[in-house]
């Protein structure tokens, strides 16, 4: 019962946040100076009919929101606009139908582009995050256990350095080094024009393309996870129940595994969730450097091509993914922590 209410509260919260992002996304593109929504209509390559079609489809001929007087009940009569017949609600309706606009660059619906890109990004982030979390946790446990020794100081300095590396620069350096020394591909997801004789050959080619971006990702996030794990564990290892475990005669490895790590996982899940925003920032940089066909790379290309519908769509998808991932982390937390879980 109680857990159902918890679930409902979390879902409601995520829904509200998504609404907030959608609204923000709408206003940024319609209200900020530069009038980006209309800018594309001035493209000389478009015919007059095409311009008109776009204007109607996305409601660009309508007011942005209802006229200001409509908010005042005494003068409502002066306002002839149907509140639902405004750009904002047309945008909203289009979103619900999965319409995100037409790319200025390719003249194809933005949604068509973004679908495949999302999966490419998830693949890249997934591989990098899993490695970074595993290595970061291991290194953090080692540093906390051996705190104040040379191992700890070394791991700490390494993590601070890794944290300070600009992701895109580390990517450039690794790309420079990997492509000249080991002949690794300089970008993309698969070698173009290569006829793959088998599934395995294709996976091998994909792996070679994934290697450097994943390595960049891992190094950059490893430092942060290690720092979080170390400081969380230092607190936990000073708790009384660790002394109890030691008094029971348990071996150090078992204490670390069954008592310390299990407690440390809770703050880790929270912090990983809070970090998801940085994850996306990392994706934008890495996909740009390695020409990875994902959402982050789409952001970069859209900026360069002034392709605002694409930019808007990619941003929306990124933000909503982060919100949903946050929701997942919240629910995971409640499963891990018996104090939240109510039976």
């Amino acid at each position: 019962m109680k857990s159902l209410r918890f679930l409902a509260a979390r879902l409601g919260w995520a829904f509200l946040t998504i609404l907030f992002v959608v609204t923000l996304n709408f206003f940024i593109f319609r209200v900020l100076p530069g009038d980006p929504a209309r800018a594309g209509l001035r493209d000389p390559r478009l015919t007059r009919e095409a311009v008109e079609a776009i204007r109607v489809r996305f409601g660009l001929d309508k007011p942005v929101i209802n006229c200001v007087q409509a908010l005042n009940p005494f003068e409502a009569g002066d306002c002839l606009v149907n509140p639902l017949d405004t750009q904002f609600f047309i945008y909203f309706g289009n979103l619900l139908r999965g319409e995100l606009g037409i790319s200025y660059h390719t003249n194809r619906p933005v949604a068509d582009h973004l679908g495949q890109m999302l999966w490419n990004t998830v693949l890249l982030i997934g591989a990098g995050q899993v490695l970074a979390i595993l290595l970061g946790v291991a290194l953090g446990v080692l540093a906390a256990w051996k705190s104040r020794t040379r191992i700890d100081v070394g791991a700490l300095l390494f993590s601070l350095l890794a944290w300070s590396l600009p992701t895109f620069w580390l990517g450039i350096i690794l790309l420079f080094w990997g492509s000249s020394r080991f002949g690794l591909p300089i970008g993309g997801k698969l070698t173009p024009g290569l006829p793959f004789v088998s599934q395995a050959a294709m996976l091998k080619d994909l792996g070679r393309h994934l290697l450097l971006p994943t390595l960049t990702y891992t190094i950059v996030f490893l430092g942060e996870y290690m720092l979080i794990m170390r400081s969380t564990l230092l607190d936990i290892l000073s708790e009384d129940f660790i002394l109890t475990a030691k008094a029971k005669g348990l071996r150090t490895f078992q204490i670390l595994k069954d008592h310390a790590l299990r407690n440390a996982m809770l703050p880790m899940v929270t912090l990983i969730a809070l970090n998801l925003g940085f994850t996306v920032a990392g994706a934008i940089q890495i996909e740009t450097v390695f020409s990875w066909p994902g959402l982050g790379g789409a952001v970069f290309n859209a900026v360069g091509q002034r392709d605002y519908p694409m930019l808007q769509g990619a941003f929306l998808l990124l933000a909503v993914s982060v919100i949903l991932a946050n929701l997942a982390a919240d629910l995971l937390y409640s499963l891990l922590d018996p104090r939240v879980r109510v039976d």
């Binding site: 129940f241 109890t244 008094a247 029971k248 005669g249 071996r251 299990r262």
Partner: protein, 324 residues
């Protein structure tokens, strides 16, 4: 006389803190414990009771060093064991009930798991099912009931948590249990229940118990003998009747005055003014001299030796020495 179960002699523990002179937390303390015997370890907080208990299990924090003495369990010298050998002694031979069960229990592991973990560590021949059966048996024994094995510490009341801690301490049928202030932070009714439980189990299982406490009432009811500690040294060590009827050390006498005596409800209750000294700034003579009502010149210069009034009654005070 048979050799004692636990024979502690001359045990000293120093604390080394950076930038400070070493602190003498425990100095040359000794006692013996026979099978099934209960000893009270009494003193104000900060007198080295907990340090002494942790030293017996070799669980001191990194600042702490055992610098002299010997601890023999069944004739075996614990201070000469390697760390893995010592880990086998912990809980199997000597276990401990920590103060504040809430913090001493892992919040994200079920009570049952925390008990059976100890069982399986020391009875490696047991299958998981057998370990679970043993856990259920233990929980029944302390009155919790096996049905609650799957619950977590936050689902238990304070008294229940302390019972769980006791069940955990008995998991491997140890011969000695150290109970470090087992009833702090519990309300009076629950305190009495927990102490009854401990006393009953001790008699049923023939356990030797060290009660670490500042409550002389507990000691009077449950213990066979008493070790009174003050600022890391033995003040007085005697059978429980001697301590209550003929306390010889002024510190023991003051402690008894500070303890409400139900047979003399009108007697004034007084606490001892002042605090025990810091372990890195001990007075040169008797450590109790600055607070002692019977202090005289020599107390500030000489540290009194432990004097045997009878073979079973020891006290460290110049007054006792000059009397006999």
């Amino acid at each position: 006389m048979t050799s004692p179960l636990l024979d502690v002699r001359d045990l000293s523990v120093d604390f080394h803190l950076p930038g400070r002179p070493p602190g003498h937390a425990v100095s040359r303390v000794g006692f013996t414990l026979q099978p099934g015997e209960a000893m009270g370890l009494v003193g104000e907080s900060g007198c080295g009771k907990t340090t002494l208990s942790l030293a017996l299990l070799r669980l001191l924090p990194p600042q702490g060093r055992i610098v002299s003495g010997s601890v023999k369990f069944n004739g075996r010298e614990l201070l000469a064991l390697s760390e893995p050998e010592m880990a086998n002694v912990r809980w199997k031979d000597i276990s401990m009930i920590f103060q504040g069960a809430m913090n001493a229990l892992n919040p994200v592991a079920s009570i049952g798991a925390q008990i059976s973990e100890a069982v399986r560590r020391h009875y490696s021949f047991m299958t998981p099912v057998e370990a679970r059966t043993r856990t259920a048996e233990l929980l029944d024994m302390v009155g919790i009931g096996a049905a609650r094995a799957g619950q977590y510490p936050h689902q238990y009341s304070g008294g229940m948590r302390q019972r769980a801690m006791i069940a955990m301490a008995l998991a491997c049928s140890p011969q000695i249990v150290i109970a470090d202030e087992p009833t702090t932070a519990l309300d009076v009714m629950i305190q009495a229940q927990i102490l009854d439980l401990l006393d009953r189990l001790r008699r049923e299982l023939g356990l030797a118990v060290i009660f670490v406490t500042h409550d002389l009432g507990v000691v009077a009811e449950l213990c066979d003998k008493v070790l009174v500690m003050y600022a890391g040294v033995t003040a007085e060590y005697a059978g429980v009747d001697e301590i209550y009827n003929q306390p010889r050390h002024p510190y023991t006498q003051e402690l008894l005055k500070a303890f409400p005596d139900l047979s003399r409800p009108r007697a004034a209750l007084n606490s001892i003014p002042g605090y025990p000294p810091r372990i890195d700034a001990l007075p040169p003579g008797c450590r109790f001299a600055p607070r002692c009502p019977a202090v005289f010149d020599r107390c500030h210069i000489d540290q009194p030796a432990l004097h045997a009034l009878t073979p079973e009654h020891l006290a460290a005070c110049h007054l006792v020495e000059s009397e006999s």
